[in-house]
Symmetry: C2
Subunit: 560 residues, 2 copies
């Protein structure tokens, strides 16, 4: 072993798995490599031989084989690219999309790998964005409300079709033989750690945020599950485990077999699995209260640490040790952000803009930003509600829809583009204020993810609208970096790593130099506009005017 | 003189003048010719030699010389094209945009033709869409409200920047020397008739709808004008006339000079001038109550005849004998219709649609119509308020703006296009209901103008939304045809014409064969959607939620 100490983070995303090797001393990113999943997101037909097995709309599956291939391809490639001696790798952390779950046998074999279940969609991995479990989510919410289940408050009063038991209930209802054959129902991240260390060590984060578990109260009761379906009464005892490990805990040492896949030495300590968004928090240098991390992409995930558990309206969840050890991790979200800007560029921007952008070799987003950046706040005269994809926080209502007001014959594409960006900033301000109204301070915001780096105008608008300084995570791979940091933590100081995630963050992360500070003149105008946004938010979002729901109800009826 | 009897209608539009020769016996359109105004709409700089004289935004002027050229070019061209013997022309009618007005000397010379005023913008013809007189309109409305002027109710409680005295007040305020030098202030149509017959014969229509005159009460009082500006106290006595002739009256016989311009014989009877939209009413075969005419183009003008005068909220005006003799003519309007669809196509439709339309050699409008026509009402899940250009009737509020609600990531251009068309149909229904609530029945609607012919989907939507049968005017030149009909009326039956406009309409007009009948299933869904439209209409249009005005106020402030 040389003197160099390297931690390995592996980030399992929706389309690919990425390995990142990080110098533990200073956080230098030594090398990275990506493996694009061969079967990617499976949403049309199963990747099987013979007669095609088609999937209904709203389905989204994955192939567990792809995850193993990512280990076998991306890790050796990164080692090679960085010229890293495998002996220098002192610890491994992984993060995964969530809730992405699968049924397996007792030895961890995914049921979809067994010949008898190969053609059964419910035997495959259900990806986080599998939305076909909405009826099951509705049943869970109904039953929980009827029984006044105490855990419902932790999730802002409503659970999602994306979550663990919505998916389990779909398996049971549609493919009881799969449910029956499943010795284990498990999150993808936990399954992967199991493959690495040879035994199950489930993590508190995904279990807490997506499977209604808490350290204090455990899972929902057998009575509750029985109310959903009598066959499900003992689902925890039969197919899950109540041994749940906090984030930052060690799951075990790398097995011979797994070491062989990746070209590493056996025995390297492996951390319990983490969620891709959540692991970005320490990866963005945040390990304590007062700083919110926003992971901004097609949607935005807001994560904040607190020292106690407070009820906050409409958050996605609060989990003890769900993000870093010793803290409560609060999660909120905006279900449409980059997605809305992308929709606009694809479906509402006239040809001249596309031609102009093409000619100049820039994206249409960049062109619109250029045209809109010179405007003063309020100059376009528009206001939007950013609900093109519903509202996650704080209203938790997928039936809400987008609104644009103030259009005139002089309105141009850049005006609407800017108004949409502003609307998402107002949406963030509502979330910040919901936290602060419950005594959870937010002094500063660190943005990570793909959007912030590319959109300086957007970042300035967010600072002006929220009245907070916005900083940018130093790494563009904050997820994989966070995982590597947990690898360093499970190695421990004695092995050249760190004993706490706080120490790891201090040494291994930094913020970018540029800070977006709110500009007082802009803030003054945005305060006026935000007051109008809030009025519309409450009017259309809280039941006073039901037009959005009526429109969806009429639409659904005429489409029948 | 042969046995053929032909009437000449001349339609003075915004961009051109059109001559139409019509066989009086059966309404057959024998020939037509157009003259495009050389100076068109003057909105950047005066068409003068030397140092340019630039115009402020919102200005829109015209050159009276263009009107005379239209006579000299289009009429001979139509005679020639139709092989019409000038001796067969028995009567002449003209219609004009309004309120388009100018200052002249006592002999009718436009002041802008005098060298000393050639470079003074206020000496030129102010076109109907000259909007720079908004501050003057505000002053007139304020003074009228303060003095509780009885005439205000006839105009739905508010007069417009486009109207006669708003423009006069601007001349007086900005160019008192022009006001001083003007012996006459006159509508363009009345000025043109003066040129044809050699003396002033002002018409009741433009005077009634745009200059606050009524048969019963005359003009506003000298005291009122004095309240606006002491110099204006005697504006009526000094520069106008109280001799006002009903629509259908004869202004006189064609002078030698004017006959020479057009290649016609002197003495042909000429009718008093008419408004371009209003003359479409008999031109669309409507000469009595119960049938509303909608002249649909960039905006829509709704005209309805009644046997008595009733107050109706938010109409543009009601004038006795303003449309046909013996009847009250009610006018209402929607300030953005084709304009909104045009805005959408120009500024919010993505390149694929333009490419597809190009490839197929059809307009983008037609392509969007094709894509949207298969939808059921309510299927797109959208609702709009059609206020991109403010709201004329019934709210009379230019500060309102457009709203779109219900957008999702699945929303496509054809969905929004259809929602915009539907919004204008809901706006029409509000106007119909305002009339009916005041006891003025509307059983059927006749559409004329450019839009209805080109947009069958739109017509069906209008029928379904309003629950009324929509018919189409038989002529695509209903304005020029209506003018020719009034030419036949001033000729009279003794000369081969008609004694009343009703007889003329019976013989000279027809409707197109196609009738758009409401479909019950569609009506049922549109009733639900209209209820939502009305809720938003009242919410945002009647002061309960002021966001549209706040947005404009903020915009105006930051633009300062």
């Amino acid at each position: 072993m040389s003197n160099r100490k390297v931690a390995l983070g592996i980030d399992f995303g929706t389309e690919s798995g990425r390995a990142l090797l990080v110098d533990v001393t200073d956080g230098h990113e030594v090398a990275t490599a990506v493996f694009d999943y061969e079967n990617g997101v499976i949403d049309e037909a199963l990747p099987v031989e013979g007669e095609p097995v088609r999937l209904d709309p709203e389905w989204a599956l994955q192939d567990p084989e792809d995850y193993l291939k990512a280990l076998k391809v991306a890790v050796p490639a990164a080692l090679k690219a960085g010229g890293v001696d495998p002996d220098d790798v002192i610890g491994i952390g992984i993060d995964f999309t969530s809730c992405t779950m699968l049924p397996t046998t007792a030895d961890g074999t995914p049921l979809c790998m067994l010949p008898e279940f190969r053609r059964t969609p419910n035997a495959w991995v259900k990806l986080w964005k599998h939305h076909a479990s909405q009826p099951e989510a509705d049943r869970i919410n109904e039953a929980a409300r009827a029984r006044q289940e105490p855990w419902l408050a932790r999730y802002g009063g409503k659970i999602s079709s994306e979550w663990f038991f919505s998916k389990v209930l779909q398996i049971l209802g549609e493919s009881p033989e799969v449910y029956e054959a499943a010795d284990v129902l498990i999150e993808g991240g936990d399954w992967l750690v199991w493959q690495l260390v040879g035994e199950q060590h489930r993590n508190a984060s995904t279990t807490g945020y997506k499977a209604m578990w808490s350290r204090q109260d455990g899972f929902p009761s057998p009575d509750f599950f029985e109310a959903l379906d009598p066959r499900m009464r003992n689902v925890i005892a039969e197919k899950m485990t109540e041994d749940i490990y906090p984030i930052g805990a060690k799951a075990g040492g790398l097995t011979e077999r797994a070491a062989g896949w990746m070209g590493l030495r056996p025995g390297i300590p492996v951390a319990v699995a983490n969620m891709d968004a959540h692991v970005s928090v320490p990866g963005s240098s945040v390990t304590g209260p007062g700083r919110m991390v926003m992971i901004m992409g097609t949607s935005t995930c807001h994560i904040l640490l607190g020292e106690s558990e407070q009820p906050v309206e409409g958050i996605c969840g609060v989990v003890h040790e769900g993000v870093v050890p010793g803290m409560y991790g609060y999660e909120a979200g905006q279900s449409g952000v980059g997605d809305i800007f992308g929709w606009f560029v694809d479906h509402a921007v006239p040809p001249e803009y596309h031609e102009d952008a093409d000619r100049r070799g820039i994206s249409v987003h960049k062109l619109l930003e250029e045209k809109a950046a010179g405007q003063k706040p309020g100059e376009h005269g528009l206001l939007a509600l950013d609900w093109w994809n519903g509202n996650r926080s704080v209203l938790v209502d997928g039936d809400l829809s987008g609104l644009l007001i103030g259009a005139t014959l002089s309105t141009r594409a850049e005006d609407i583009y800017r108004a949409l960006i502003e609307a998402t900033a107002y949406g963030t301000r509502v979330i910040i204020e919901a936290f602060e109204e419950n005594g959870i301070a937010i002094n500063e915001i660190v943005a990570s993810g793909g959007l912030p780096e590319r959109n300086p105008m957007m970042m300035q608008i967010y600072a002006d609208v929220t009245g907070r300084a916005f900083k940018l995570a130093g790494s563009n791979l904050a997820g994989a970096l966070g995982s590597a940091m947990f690898g360093a933590v499970v190695a421990g100081a004695a092995q050249g790593g760190y004993d706490t995630i706080q120490e790891a963050a201090l040494k291994m992360t930094r913020l970018k130099g540029r800070v977006y500070e709110p500009v007082a003149d802009n803030q003054a105008v945005y305060d006026l506009l935000y007051a109008e946004y809030l009025r519309l938010y409450n009017l259309f979002g809280r039941g006073k005017n039901q037009v959005m729901k009526t429109l969806k109800a009429i639409r659904n009826k005429v489409r029948e």
